[in-house]
């Protein structure tokens, strides 16, 4: 089974590497959205410092949304997904592998670039770690929940917008807790409670998400 997981992760990473423009687009979208806020609100440093965690988190949410459409779509189109459904490994495990590869390609870059963007907002340097950590814990949860939505909307018209409508309400707790971590840290309360909550959400999503996504994939492939 491990061999299959390794193979799937390797395959997805290879595909992403050979089509690197897809990956870059998501990252650039993230940077662009974050940059739009000062343009819309005004460059007042105090204001920007306050909204920084929220803005970065919302942008991460939207970028994650954008990336999700790719997770199962191409496999569904060329028939590889069917083979995964008929594979010797439980589908849930295959989903874990795919989501992990997907996160490496569209979640991790956001986590890594977030400190740079936060500095643009004059976010306190010593708290950048908490912001990045909140994203590091939160973006996998977004990928896991999003995978279920992507599985449900496989092959449907209305595509991206429908997926967003389904998934964004479910993202709200992650957003509140994730952004709350950095905000608490700023107001001196320390973001540890939120980080622990995020960890719990991650564990919960990691345990049940792939199974739900597998059920959804079977439903969508009928």
């Amino acid at each position: 089974m491990l061999a299959t997981l390794r193979c799937v992760i390797h395959r997805d990473l290879l595909l992403a590497a050979r089509r690197s423009s897809d990956v870059m687009t998501v990252l650039l979208f993230f940077v662009l959205v974050v940059s739009l806020f000062p343009l819309g609100i005004g460059p007042d440093p105090a204001l920007l410092r306050t909204i920084a965690p929220g803005v970065i988190w919302v942008a991460a949410l939207l970028a994650s949304m954008l990336a999700l459409q790719r997770i199962f779509a191409s496999d569904h189109a060329d028939g590889t997904l069917e083979q995964m459904l008929l594979g010797a490994t439980p589908l849930g495990m295959t989903v874990v592998a795919k989501v992990f590869a997907h996160w490496l390609v569209s979640g991790l870059p956001l986590v890594l670039i977030s400190p740079v963007l936060a500095l643009q907002f004059d976010f306190p340097q010593e708290l950048l770690g908490i912001l990045a950590l909140s994203l590091a814990l939160g973006t996998p949860v977004l990928s896991l929940i999003g995978a279920i939505g992507a599985a449900l909307t496989l092959g449907l018209r209305g595509g991206g917008a429908l997926l967003s409508l389904l998934v964004l309400p479910l993202y709200v707790p992650v957003l509140i807790i994730g952004a709350g971590a950095a905000e608490s840290a700023v107001s001196g309360l320390g973001g540890h409670a939120q980080l622990l909550l995020l960890g719990a959400l991650l564990a919960f999503a990691g345990a049940f998400g792939p199974w739900a996504a597998a059920v959804a994939l079977r439903i969508s492939s009928e």
């Binding site: 395959r11 290879l14 060329d78 594979g87 490994t89 009928e222």
Partner: protein, 198 residues
């Protein structure tokens, strides 16, 4: 039922090792749906599919480990080479896929020089052959379900695949396929089901 159309009803058959089952019928008569039901991809509105006496819905991976399904779609990724594609297909199905074996399988299907070419540049026929190359490595799998395996293949490739199937049947495995071609595969038992007027 497909959407709101009833495709076929009251279908009942048993398949044994060494059997070749051909499913015929006009376009749209439900051949692909029947194969997908047999695989477990589609749930029949009524009735069930059993493998060795157990419902395949319950067996899940146990059943799928003993099945190779080649559908209409090739399950080939354009950005991967033929060899890489075959390797992935084999790993997913838990079929032995060492590089040497993969090379041999591709050679057998007439894709000798194409192992390291991205599937994007291969022709339709070559892609179909890459998809079918799995069969050359699936000697241990007792059930092959093939949906129009000969589509887009030239005469030489058709003969090659027919030989693969015949060899597999001789090993005591069962093969189910749909095709428009005349049957030139020798088998212990050849059965035919024609899906007609529903």
């Amino acid at each position: 039922m497909r959407g709101e159309r009833k495709l076929f009803g009251a279908l009942n058959f048993t398949l044994r090792g060494g059997d070749l089952l051909r499913i015929g019928g006009a376009n749209g008569s439900g051949k692909t749906s029947l194969l997908r039901i047999a695989c477990g991809l589609l749930e029949p509105t009524r009735g069930e599919v059993r493998w060795g006496g157990d419902n395949i819905r319950r067996l899940q991976e146990e059943f799928w480990r003993q099945l190779v399904y080649v559908g209409h779609a090739n399950a080939i990724k354009d950005d991967l080479t033929a060899a890489e594609n075959l390797h992935v297909a084999c790993t997913l199905a838990s079929v032995p896929g060492q590089p040497a074996q993969i090379g041999e399988a591709l050679r057998r299907l007439g894709l000798a020089g194409c192992e390291n070419l991205p599937a994007r540049v291969l022709s339709q026929g070559q892609r179909r052959r890459t998809a079918l190359a799995r069969l050359a490595l699936s000697e241990a799998i007792p059930l092959w379900i093939l949906d129009e395996p000969f589509a887009a293949l030239d005469a030489a490739a058709v003969e090659c695949v027919q030989n693969l199937i015949a060899e597999h049947l001789a090993r005591g495995a069962a093969v189910v396929l749909t095709t428009h071609l005349e049957n030139r595969i020798t088998a212990a038992t050849t059965r035919r089901i024609d899906l007609g007027a529903g």
